[in-house]
Symmetry: D2
Subunit: 415 residues, 4 copies
C-alpha cells in the first residue's frame, strides 16, 4: 500500500481532521502535503457533504442538506517542481470506499443517491421531480444493490467526481467575474444560475484567521467543472485512468474528493452518483511546458483505463431538443435533448412498476451512457441514453408480451 | 441474400429510378413496397445528396450542393398489419456500400466527409470554420483511409444516418407548426434556425401531379430527428442493432437512407459522416399496441448490436459551457460544452501537424464518442469527446517528448 | 470492390472452373494469379468438400462424403518479390458467404455443420457420437439460426478455416516423412492417425498430365495445420485480422478456402464449423527477411481484428485429463482435458432438452472459446470451455429453479 | 467490509495461526468456520508456499522450495445446509493482495513469478529451461511492473488459483487410486508423473494427534485440478465471477488459496502466476440437488465477471503437435501444440532483447490467452497463444523495420 499523504478519520468532520481539507478553490489554500514526480501515494476522502446524510429510509436529510459545506476536498497536494504551464500527469492506481470498515458514514459499506429538492439546488429533471428523494445502496465488492430499488444489481464504475489543480489568482478572478455576470442575468432564479463565493461554511484547509476569511470570501465554489478540472463528474474516470491536468500555480496543488461508487453520465439527480467517502491511490508525474506543447489550456485530457465494467447489451432512448409538454422547439439544444432522453427512459421504466422517482434515481447512479448523437441537424439536437440491460434481474427488453409489471416499492421520501 | 424490395440503379438519380424514393416526410407518399412481419428484405439507397459530390480534390461541390434535394430516401416500405400505436421492430441484419461495384458514385468503393459553408447550412464549428472543406475516403473492407488525412486508418461503424416511420397528418402539422414558431424568432439568421417545407427539389415517390405538389408543399424536411426517428445520426446503429419505432400511420411506412460508412457522435461537420450509397438488409416485426405498453411515444428505442468495432484506448477531451473566446458563461448548456470539447480536440491535433480543417473533418467522421458527463453542476455542463488512439498510425498520447509534429498536408478546399 | 483474382462459378465444381484451384499442398501447383505487395484483391472460394452436401434433413451426405476431394482451395496466388525467408503480411479486409445469391450450394444463404462418422474421419467425441449428424444453418446478415437447433441464434465470427503458403520441396518431404512415421505406429487405426498423400480425388490446379499425377502422388493432404499455416481453424481469424506467414517458395504461393460462417474453438465436430463457399478480400505486403528478423519459422503469427462479435457472459465448463468413464488418469493431457470439458458442456445442455448430438453440433459451430487453463499442475491438465450465454433465447444459467427442459427436436441423422 | 471468517496474521506461518488452514484434501479436516447461504464474508490467505520466497534478486529460494508444504489453504468453510448432490454457488465479490500493508511477505505490495527447476517439479518448458528463475513484481493498484522485466506493465486479472469443496471419502480414495496407477507407469520419472499423499509437511487444520496423522497419510495433494475444482488456475476467475461447485460432503467444506495477482493461461512456469497472499470476499448460496438437475458431476462450472482487464490487440502465436526439434509428429496432442505455441512466443520475444528465461516468466504471468484452436484435423492439434500488445511499453508488432532489440537485463537466477 502506498504511503498515505492525506489521512481522514471518518469518525470526525473534515474540519476536525489533524490536517483538514478545503471546500473552495483558491491558490492560497496551504499545502497539506508534498509529493515528488514518480511517487505513488494514497489520499483519503470524506463523502462530499462531510457526511450529512444517513443510512435510513427518509429523504429529510437530502432535503435539509447544507450545500455551503460542499464539496469537502482532500488536499491540496503539492507536486515538487510543478510550475504554471506544465501538465500534471495523474494515474488513478486504485480507489474505493473506506477500507476495512463498516459504519454510519457513507463509504463504510454503503452509499446513497439523492435527488435534491428544487428549493435546494434541484436536479436535471427538477421540474418533473421537485421534491427530495433518496436511495441507499449496499456494497458487495464492486457490485451494489439498494433496498429502495429492488430488482437492480450492477457493478459500479467507481471514480472521484472531483479532482483538479488550484487556479491562479487571475484564473480565479476570471471565474468569479464570468459566473457573477451569468447570475446577474436572473439573480432571483430558483434554482440559481450559479453559486458565488460565500463565507458561510467555507473551509480553507490549514489557513486560519484573516487568511482563512479572505480565502472564504474569494474562493470559487466547487460545484462546476472548470479549466482546472474540478467537479467534472466523468463516470469513466476510474481505476487505471490517466489524467493530464493544466498547472496554474507553483506545485500544482492537486485536490480531490466527491468519490462515487457509481454514476450515470450526467449525474442527472444532482447528487445522483452513489456518494461515499473512501480512498484514492495515485501516481503523479510532470510534462514540463506541456500546456503549450499539446495545446491543452482550458481543460484536462484523460485516458480511461481498461478495467471498466463491461456491459454489452443496452436499451438506448433517444431524445430531441423539443419540449413535448408544450410542443416547443429549441434550437440545437443538447441539454433539452438529453433531458427528453432521460424522461423517455423514466417513462419506460415506470411501465415495469418503478415509480418515476425510483427510475430517476436509477438513471442517476447506474452506469448509463449519455451520448450526443446528432448536433448539426437543424433544429433538433439528438441525444441518446444507453441503459445496460444487465443491471436488471428481469428481461427489460421490449417484447410482444408487454412489460412484466410488478410492485417495486418506493425510494426514501421526505416526511 | 434477402429479396430486394427497393432497388436502386446507381447510375441514375433517385428521381429516375423505376420506383423513385422521396425526400420529404409526409403520410401520403405512396408505398414503394409491402413486407410482412417476420420478413427479411434488402433496401438499396442513394447517397443522401443524390450523388452531387465527386471523388476529387476540390470542395467546390460541397460549397455548391443543393440541400433542397436531401435526404434522398428509399421507401416507404409498408408493413402488413401495422397500425398507429404499434411498435415496429426493425433488425439491421447487414448494411454496407454498393456491393460489387467501383465507380463515380459515393458508395462505389469510396465516400466523402464534408464541412458545409456557413452560407449553406454550416456545421457545429461554423464560426471557426466558415468555409467548405472535403475529405475523400477509400474503403478497405470495413476499414478506410483518406488521401486528405494521412496517418489515419480506422474501422467504420457503418450505419444508416436516417430511418423512420411516416408521420400522421396530425404529427406532421405539429412539426411544421413548432418549427415555424422557432424560425419566426429569427427568420433571417444565417445559418437558419430551421428549414420549412419547400417545393423546390421535393420528390414524393410515385405520387405525381397535384398530389406530388401537395406533398412537396406540406412535407417536412428530413434534416432533423423527430418523434418518428428520422435523421437521428446515431453512429452505433449498425449491424446487429434492433430498433423499436413508433407507428403513426397504417402500414407504418418505413423509409431510410443517408448511409454512413463511419461517423463520430454528433456528426459535427454537418455531413461529417463518410457519406455513401449502398444497401441495408432488414428484418421487421410488430409489437401490437407497443407504444402504450412500453410508454414509447415521442422517440424510437434501439438496442446496439455486438459487432461494433472495439476500441480500447481513448484520448478524452472535456469541455464546459463557457465560451473561452469571450469568457462568457452559459448556463448548463451541453451544446456549448460539447463544442468546447471538440475545439479542444482540434487544438490538440493541430500540434501534431494537422490543419484545423483536417482535424475537424476527422472528428466528424471517425468513431469518436461524445458524452454528456456532467449536466447538473451549476452553471457548467461538462461534455467529453473520446478519440480512439488506434485510429492514428503514430502514438498520439501526450508524453514528455512532446508531439511528433509533421507536415500532414491538407484536405480538399474550395477554389 | 477489389479486383477478383480468383473467381469461382458456384454452379460448377472446382475442377470445372476456368482456372481450377487445388486440394493438395505442393510447391509445383502452378500459380493461378499474381498480385503485388500493397495490392487489394478478392478471392472466391468453394465450400471445402466442393459442395457434396445439401440443404436437407438427412445426414446421409455427411456419412458418405468423399474426403479425398478436400479441402478445395483457391489459389495459389503469387506475390511479386516474395522469397523464402520473407514474412508475407495478409490483411483480411472482408469475407463472407457467396454475395448476392441464394441457392443450393453451401454459402448461398445457408451453411451446415456436420459430425463425421467414426468410420469416415470421426470427430473429437467420436467415441461418444460414432455416427453422422448434420445441422443446417440459415444466414441473417452476420447472424444465423438452424431449424435443427431451436432456441439458438448467434453472430458468427466468419473466417477462413484454411490459409497458407506453399511448402518448399524440402518442407513437403519432411511433412510426408514425419506423418508417415506416425501412421506407421498404428497403420490400421480407425479413424486413422494421419492421411498420407493419395492420388484419388487430387486436384493440382492448372497442372495436367504427368505433372498433375506427380503433384497428386507427392502432395500433402490439407487436413492438418502445419508450418505454413494451412488448416489452422482459428475461429478469431476474421475481418480486420492481420497474419504473418512464413514464405518457403518463390512468390509465396498463397492458397485459401474452407470458409466458416462460424466455428467454436477446436471445431470439435470435425466439420464442426458452419461450412460455406464465399469470398475473401485481402491486402498483402512483405517483410523481407522477416522469418529470421522475428524468429518466426515454424508457424504463422496473427493479430485479431477489432470487429469480432462481442460476448460478455459465458458459462465455463472445466475438464481435467482424467477419463471419468474408466477413471483413468492421463498425464498433463490437454486433449483429454478439453474433451472432458466438451462432454461436461454436452451433459449440461442435455438437461435443457437438447439431444447429445444437437449439443455436440452446437459446441462445434457456436463461438465458444476453448482455453488451456492449467498445464503444469501434475498430473492433471485443466481446460475450460466458454459458452456464450447470449446465443440461447432462454436463460441458460444455473438457478435454484432447475433447467427449463423442453422438447427441442433433433438434428439431421442418417437413414 | 464483510466479516472475516478466516483470518491470517501474515507475520506467522499458516501452521502458527490461531485457526490454521490445511494443505491436503480430506473430508475430515475440521471446519474452520461456518457460514449461511446468502452470507457475505472475507477469507484471508497466505501465499501458496507459506511464504518461503523473498523479495530479492536470487532464484535460490525457488530452487530450494519445499513443495510438501503447498498449497497452504484457508478453510474449510462450512455452508449451513449443504449436502452431497447440491451445487454450491460462490460469488467472488472482491479479492486482492494483503490490504493496507507493505512488508516482506508475498502479497504485501509485491509478488513473484518462479520457474521451478526440473529436479523440483519443473514447468511446462522444463526441457528447455531446466533451472530455477524468478521475477519480482511490484504492485501499483491493479497494475504491476518488475525490475526483472523492464518494458513491461500490465493490469493483473487477480484470482485465486485454487478453490474447491472437500472430497468425500470415496472420491478421495478414487483420486489416490487413479493417480497412483499413473505414477506406477513410470515411478522414477523426473519430474514425477504425480504426487502421492505424503505425511511430510502436511497440515490438517485444527486436527491433531492421530487424526492429523491419518489425514496427512490419506489426504490428496493439492497440486492438480480435480472434480472438486481445486487448483484449476483459471486466470479469468476474478472479481465478479460466480462458480458452481459440486458438493461431496455435508457442509460442503470450501477451501481456497494460491492467490495470483496475475497469471497467463496454463500458468506455464509452474508457479508462473504472480504469487501472493491476500484476501477474498465471497458470497455463497446453494442449489439443492443441483448436481443432478444440471448434470454437473465431475467439474465446477463458472461464469466470468465483467471487470476483467480489457485487451484489444494481441499477437497470436500458433503451435502444432509436432516436436520440431526432432521432427516428430504427435497425434492430436494439444499439450505439445500449446508448448510449441509458447516456444514460438519465446523465440519472438528474444528478438527484442529479452532472455529466454525472461520471456518464459512473462508468458507465465501476463494475461495471455491459450486457446485450443483446432483439435480434429489429424494428426495435428493447433493451439494459439495470444499475447496482449499493450503490456509492452514499445510497439511489439512485426514491421518491415525489424524488432527494436535492446539489452533488457535478466531475471533472478540461482547462484
Amino acid at each position: 500500500m502506498p504511503e498515505v499523504v492525506f489521512s481522514v478519520d471518518q469518525s470526525k468532520s473534515m474540519r476536525e481532521q489533524a490536517v483538514p481539507g478545503h471546500n473552495r478553490w483558491h491558490p492560497d489554500v496551504p499545502l497539506a502535503a508534498m509529493v515528488r514526480p514518480g511517487q505513488e501515494f494514497r489520499v483519503e476522502c470524506r463523502e462530499w457533504t462531510d457526511a450529512q446524510l444517513g443510512n435510513n429510509d427518509s429523504a429529510n436529510d437530502v432535503r435539509d442538506v447544507d450545500l455551503n459545506l460542499t464539496h469537502m476536498l482532500s488536499g491540496p497536494i503539492g507536486v515538487e517542481g510543478a510550475e504554471p504551464g506544465d501538465l500534471l500527469i495523474v494515474d488513478l492506481l486504485d480507489l474505493g470506499p473506506v477500507p476495512q470498515e463498516t459504519g454510519e458514514v457513507p463509504g463504510q459499506g454503503w452509499g446513497y443517491t439523492g435527488v435534491f429538492a428544487k428549493a435546494n439546488g434541484g436536479g436535471f429533471l427538477t421540474d418533473y421531480f421537485p421534491d427530495a428523494y433518496k436511495a441507499i445502496w449496499d456494497f458487495h465488492g464492486q457490485q451494489c444493490t439498494s433496498r429502495h430499488l429492488p430488482g437492480i444489481r450492477y457493478t459500479g464504475i467507481t471514480h472521484p467526481g472531483l479532482m483538479g489543480t488550484a487556479p491562479s489568482a487571475d484564473l480565479l478572478a476570471k471565474w468569479n467575474r464570468r459566473e457573477q455576470a451569468l447570475i446577474d442575468t436572473d439573480p432571483n432564479r430558483v434554482p440559481p444560475l450559479g453559486l458565488p463565493p460565500t463565507e458561510s461554511g467555507a473551509l480553507a484547509g490549514q489557513a486560519d484567521g484573516s487568511e482563512a476569511q479572505r480565502i472564504a470570501r474569494e474562493g470559487a465554489r466547487t460545484v462546476p467543472a472548470r479549466e482546472n478540472g474540478g467537479n467534472q463528474d466523468i463516470k469513466n474516470f476510474t481505476r487505471g485512468s490517466r489524467v493530464f491536468f493544466p498547472v496554474f500555480v507553483k506545485d500544482a496543488k492537486l485536490s480531490m474528493g466527491d468519490l462515487h461508487f457509481s454514476q450515470g453520465d450526467g449525474e442527472i439527480t444532482f447528487c445522483g452518483a452513489i456518494e461515499m467517502g473512501g480512498f484514492i491511490d495515485l501516481h503523479v508525474d510532470l510534462i514540463k511546458g506541456g500546456m503549450d506543447k499539446f495545446g491543452i489550456t482550458t481543460n484536462p485530457v484523460f485516458m480511461p483505463g481498461n478495467v471498466e465494467p463491461r456491459y454489452s447489451e443496452f436499451l438506448s432512448f433517444s431524445g430531441i431538443s423539443v419540449d413535448h409538454d408544450t410542443d416547443t422547439n429549441h434550437y440545437m439544444d443538447a441539454t433539452v435533448a438529453y433531458r427528453r432522453a432521460c424522461l423517455n427512459g423514466v417513462e419506460y421504466l415506470k411501465k415495469w412498476g418503478y415509480t418515476g422517482e425510483q427510475a430517476y434515481l436509477l438513471l442517476g447512479s447506474a452506469p448509463i451512457e449519455g451520448r450526443i448523437s446528432g448536433i448539426v441537424d437543424i433544429p433538433n439536437a439528438c441525444c441518446t441514453l444507453y441503459v445496460p440491460a444487465a443491471i436488471f434481474d428481469f428481461d427489460v427488453r421490449p417484447t410482444a408480451a408487454g412489460p412484466a409489471r410488478e410492485d417495486r416499492g418506493q425510494c426514501a421520501v421526505t416526511s
